[in-house]
Symmetry: C2
Amino acid sequence: MDHELLALGLLKLQKMHGYQLSDVVDKRLSHLTDLKKATLYNILARAEAQGFVTKTVSRAGNRPERFIFQLTPHGQARFQELLRANLQRAHAAYFADDIGLLFLSELPAAQARALLAEKRASVARTIAELERAVARHEPNTPAYYTLRHHLLHLRTERAWLAELMRSLKQRSVRQDILACLDAADANAAASQKNRKPSPKT
Amino acid sequence: MDHELLALGLLKLQKMHGYQLSDVVDKRLSHLTDLKKATLYNILARAEAQGFVTKTVSRAGNRPERFIFQLTPHGQARFQELLRANLQRAHAAYFADDIGLLFLSELPAAQARALLAEKRASVARTIAELERAVARHEPNTPAYYTLRHHLLHLRTERAWLAELMRSLKQRSVRQDILACLDAADANAAASQKNRKPSPKT
DNA sequence: GGGCGCATGTAATGAGTTACATGATTGA
DNA sequence: TCAATCATGTAACTCATTACATGCGCCC
């Protein structure tokens, strides 16, 4: 679980209380993930139960109680394990966009274009933001790398959307998603030893 | 939910039974998502309960019973709604890889390089597969678009990994993830009106 | 005095996965 | 006859989200 990796990793760098951890993620690492407080507190509770972190109370002035979490040696090992898995694995990286893309021909072309234009605008805004963020970071630092990686993919997305919209203008999308299904049909058909050429169930 | 969109969309093109639907996704649309049978049956049951599809029994020869699902007008409307949302929205697209990337400096450089090399190899394999798949498709069809989109991102990923590994060879990664935390610390510190320059909790 | 920020949680819900359960047919 | 494929599900579990609950301090 990558959120666990993130939490343990940050605690490895420095012991912190939950709210503080959540703050770091929200304010400085928001391009990495959107980690909710409830989720984080949950992860910390689990990590404590499994002995990956210890929890000690601390009071500063008369602010509310804080529970400082600190990585244990056991937690260090867990962190290493999660990190290795993350770095090695090629995440199956599915794109939710592709599912919509598959049904592009089910919408009038003008509507599809309008919706894609909104998406493109939103991507462009995010790119601008990230470019500003990347400029604020020292090159060759880990945080810089994550920003640059994200940026590269967003630029790819922008280029893709441009390509797609160009091709939607020139010619409409062919509606042969059915071609994808046919093979499966043929399959089912074959196993039934049927005679009709189009033997739907 | 994108799996719901996928199921309804495929049923819009053609009524099918659950196993057949699962087969289409597994065998022909595996680059879109990894949809498990249990999940799909669940989605179909939910969709039926909400009146998006009807379920009718069918027997073909003496094969097991099948339950054919067909999209209702209500289901068509739902499909349109989900499709529009999918096309318009710029998915917050977080990259799980980035979390590992953030902690790159926590691993010996040689190990990091070895793990990244494995990832790169795995990406390269997937690219080769997709290139073969894309060649089998007619251009400007929806399925072609999804393959091409996926391919573009994988190539970006491959290029990124190459860049990263080059930069790991030349100079080691700086270990200043802490710089990210500092701002949050300063924050916390300020609110406590403390005097020490490094006032950790 | 009122709202925001600090600080911690719980409960309910939902989406998805794994593993299990069942039973028929078909092909090697 | 044995494994694979066809075909459908249920149950238990995990992860994450939303909404709720609490209460103090600080600033305007």
